[in-house]
Each structure stands twice: as C-alpha cells, then as structure tokens.
C-alpha cells in the first residue's frame, strides 16, 4: 500500500535520507531498525508530510502523495504516533483521544465505537480520562499517543519508538498490543531500538544507516542474520 521511490530529505544542506526505496504491503507489520540518528524519525516525518522530500516519490495505494500536507495524509489514512508523543498536555486524556478522530469529526457514531475499543484496550485510560494528559506517567502517555493515533482509524499506522522509556513488562504488553492492532487489519510500520522484540512480532524489516536503507529481509532472515544480531540485538 505504501511505496517510496528514491526518497531524499534534507535539513538545510544535510542529507538525512538518501535514495530510500521501500514498500509496505496491505496487512503487513514492517519494522525499521536503525541506530540513533540513522534517520528513522526523519523517514516517518517525511511519510507523514511534516518534511517535504527534496527528491523521489511516495505513493499510497497507487496514488502519488508526495508533498501532500500532513492533514491530507491523515485524511488518506496514514497516521503517525510520533517519537516524544506530542500530546496536548493541558487537555484531558479524553480530549486528546477525541482530537485523534479530528478527520472523522462528522461521524459521531464511529468515533464513539473506536473510543470504546481503545478504552477497552487501555483500561487505565478509561480511569484517567478526565485528567490532563501531561499529568500521566510516561507509559500512560505513550498509551494516550497510541490511542490518539488509533482514533484516526489508520490504514497505515506509523509507530516511532513506542517502547521508549517504558518498563520491560510494559514494553512486552506494548508489543502484544501492536501485534493485536496489526492482526485486526491495520498495516503497521514500526521503528524500534528494541530489535529482538520488534522482529518477533514483525513480518519483514528494513535496516537504515546514515539515511540509507542497507538491508531488507523477512523476520526469520533478519533474526538469523549475524550482522543484525551483533549490531541491534547484542547477542
């Protein structure tokens, strides 16, 4: 469904992405592995339209979406749960979730249904729904961020390091949740430092280094690859 062809992105004169070509098929869960500063967030923000690519094309279900505004991409079904969460800290948890459904605002019945699903997925958010998002713990805020992205009913969900700063037990739950979301039919592109856990739930993976994709393979090939084990799994 998502296809990138020779995408390049720059910060001033610095090329943060070079000749990135990749694809994500309908229903897949694809992991993007890369060290700090490799360009994962830049790639996600380029797909989301926050950064305009300086070269290359991005297509979604065959339609060219290169250079579309972020709001246009959300409308087309590409929703990102960003690194650092980017919540609305002084608004209630509920309001944050409701704003996640901004593009569907006319469809009140569907919003209500999605909201119920998300609150069932993260029962703690139901308890805290009237508190300000900024007052929640890091892990709870991460749940709000994922929930907010889910409220947009994405066709393609981009998750940028959702496990960042979470306790190991919560990380495990988080990966279960992501797997569940994918099994419900949402296509997922997941950037992770936690390579082993991410690969275990993935179908395929790409490796990014210094703004270039240097390796691609399915789950088993990646888990079995010596270089990957050394660089990203540490075993």
């Amino acid at each position: 469904m998502l296809q990138l062809n020779n995408v390049e992105a720059r910060y001033g004169s610095f090329k943060a992405l070079e000749q990135v070509s990749m694809s994500v098929a309908q229903g897949e869960l694809v992991v993007l592995l890369g060290a700090n500063g490799a360009g994962k967030s830049t790639l996600f923000n380029t797909i989301s339209g926050l950064i305009k690519p300086s070269a290359g094309t991005i297509t979604l279900d065959g339609t060219d979406v290169t250079g579309l505004k972020p709001s246009g991409l959300v409308q087309s079904g590409v929703v990102q749960c960003p690194e650092g969460r980017k919540l609305f800290p002084e608004m209630s948890v509920l309001k944050n979730l409701m704003l996640g459904a901004y593009v569907h605002r006319r469809d009140k019945a569907a919003i209500k249904k999605t909201l119920e699903e998300i609150l069932a997925l993260f029962p703690i958010l139901d308890e805290k729904k009237d508190q300000s998002a900024g007052s929640l713990s890091g892990g709870q805020q991460q749940m709000v961020a994922i929930g907010r992205a889910m409220m947009g009913r994405p066709k393609l969900l981009l998750l940028d390091e959702p496990s960042l700063g979470l306790a190991p037990l919560v990380v495990k739950q988080m990966f279960e949740t992501i797997k569940g979301i994918n099994e419900q039919g949402t296509t997922v592109l997941l950037a992770e430092q936690n390579a082993f856990a991410a690969l275990k739930i993935a179908h395929r993976a790409y490796v990014i280094e210094n703004g270039r994709l240097v390796m691609e393979g399915d789950k088993d090939a990646m888990l079995g690859n010596e270089a990957i084990r050394k660089a990203y799994i540490g075993a």
Binding site: V74, P89, R148, G152
Partner: protein
C-alpha cells in the same frame, strides 16, 4: 464607599475591554508566535467601520457592531494570508516588522480617508442609571456585560467544540496538531478572524465613552501587550485576569494617586510583577 464602588465599576469597564483586546492578541500569539503589533490598528478600523456605518449610513448600533466585526475579521484574515503566512519560514523579526508595517499602513489609510480629527461615536444607550446611590452610565453596563458575555462564548467555543479545540491543540503542540490532521492554514485564518472580531466589538463597545481617531489603538495595544506578558504569552485566563488587574490598577491608581499617572500604572505593574514572577502569572505549557 460610593466612590469606592464607582472605581470598581470603572475598573471593570476598563478591564473588560483590555481583556477583550488582549485575548485576541494572545490567541494569535499562542498559535503563530506572532506578536501582532497591528492589533491596535484593527481595533481602530473596527471603531471607524462602526462610526461610519452609524453616522453616514444611519445603521443601528448593534448592526454596526456586527458589520465592524465581520469587516475586521476579513481584514485580519487578509493580513494573515497576504503578510504573515508568506513569512512563516522567515526569521521572527520579519513578522514583527511586517506587523508594524500593517499598523502604519492602516492608520495612514484611515487618516487619508477620514482625517485625523477626533470623533465621538454615538450610542443609543445614553441614560444614566441610578443604582443604590451610584450613578452608572448605561454604556458602561453594556461594556461590562457585552465583553464578559463574549469572553464566555469564546471560552465555550474553545473548550466545547471540535473546531475551537483545534486552536487550543495547535497552541499546545503544533506538530501533534498536524499529526491528527488539523490544517495549519485553517486554524491560522480562524484565529486571526476571531482576534479581529474581538477587537472590533471591543472598539464599538468602548468608543462611545472615548474618542475615535486614527491613533486610538496605540496606548491600548501597548497595554494589551503588558497584559499578555503579565498573564503569560498565549494564556487565555492570563489575558482576562491580566486585563482586569490593569483595569483596576488604573481605576484606583487614577483615583487615589492622580489621573495624570493613570497610563503609567500598567507599565509600572509590569516591572513589579515580572521582577517577582518573570514568566508571567499564568504561563505554563504554551510556548
């Protein structure tokens, strides 16, 4: 005691208008981080639209207010589209220079068209009410009731409606707002329109107990900046409370110290409050 309540009333009158003007300024600042120095000129244009439609076209006071609100909202949106939007990626100083440019342009335009003389805006509410021994001009009651009702409506709009929430969301986290699909242009235009309409209504309420002239926005915009710095840049409750603080300080300072110093009080308060709380009274989150 009567004199004391008379000052309370004066403070409320000034404070409610200051609050209304500062609200428009702080909304725009919260979203775009543009200190809109042209806001005082928008206020002035609002007063002229009301004045001209009432005096030259014999339009009813309320209709004139509505026309002024619409006209200035459109003008503010034009400023956003033609000036501030193209400067979005420019260094911040460009916005400030452009805002001053708009201000000078609007003042010169109004002066060319209608001259620099002072005018008095008519109002149908000229009675003096006598409540519990206090003499209260009806227009003042109208100012206080009008300004606070408008603030309440704005508050409900921002808090309770999805459209209003997009403004608050954009102020709290710009990228977060983009990522849920909120359109930056739409929010920017809406915010400028609201800010312009607030200024025009404020002007139409306040001008009958004041004067209408091309430079009428100068002192007001300076005080509005004092208010939003006091209240915390971008803070909505800060603008309202800040407006009331300055309004009361002027009313009581003018009465118990000397009216000659009335206009200095706002700036003196700014120095005092910022030296105690440098981030302003309500600043948090928005920045």
């Amino acid at each position: 005691m009567e004199l004391f309540f008379q000052q309370v009333l004066n403070g409320l009158t000034l404070g409610s208008i200051y609050g209304l003007v500062a609200l428009g300024l702080t909304l725009v600042y919260g979203i775009l981080h543009v200190p809109n120095f042209a806001h005082g000129a928008l206020y002035m244009v609002g007063a002229y639209v009301s004045y001209i439609t009432m005096v030259d076209f014999g339009v009813n006071y309320w209709v004139a207010m509505l026309l002024a609100a619409v006209a200035v909202a459109v003008l503010a949106v034009l400023c956003e589209r033609l000036v501030f939007n193209p400067l979005r990626d420019a260094p911040p100083i460009h916005d400030k220079i452009a805002a001053i440019g708009i201000m000078l342009f609007l003042e010169a335009l109004v002066q060319m068209q209608w001259g620099a003389e002072f005018r008095r805006m008519p109002t149908p509410y000229t009675e003096i009410l006598d409540i519990a021994g206090m003499t209260i001009p009806a227009q003042r009651v109208l100012i206080i009731a009008g300004a606070f009702s408008l603030m309440a409506v704005l508050h409900l709009f921002l808090k309770k409606t999805m459209t209003g929430s997009t403004i608050v969301a954009m102020a709290q986290n710009r990228e977060g707002a983009f990522l849920v699909g909120i359109d930056a242009n739409r929010v920017a235009m809406m915010t400028f329109a609201i800010s312009g309409a607030l200024a025009a209504v404020g002007a139409t309420l306040f001008a009958p107990i004041n004067l209408v002239y091309p430079a009428m926005g100068h002192l007001l915009i300076m005080k509005a900046f004092v208010i939003i710095i006091l209240g915390g840049m971008g803070s909505i409750p800060g603008a309202i409370v800040g407006g009331l603080i300055i309004g009361f300080a002027e009313a009581f300072g003018g009465f118990y110290i000397s009216t000659d110093y009335k206009d200095i009080i706002a700036f003196a308060l700014l120095v005092v409050i910022l030296s105690i709380k440098p981030t302003g009274l309500f600043s948090k989150g928005v920045h």
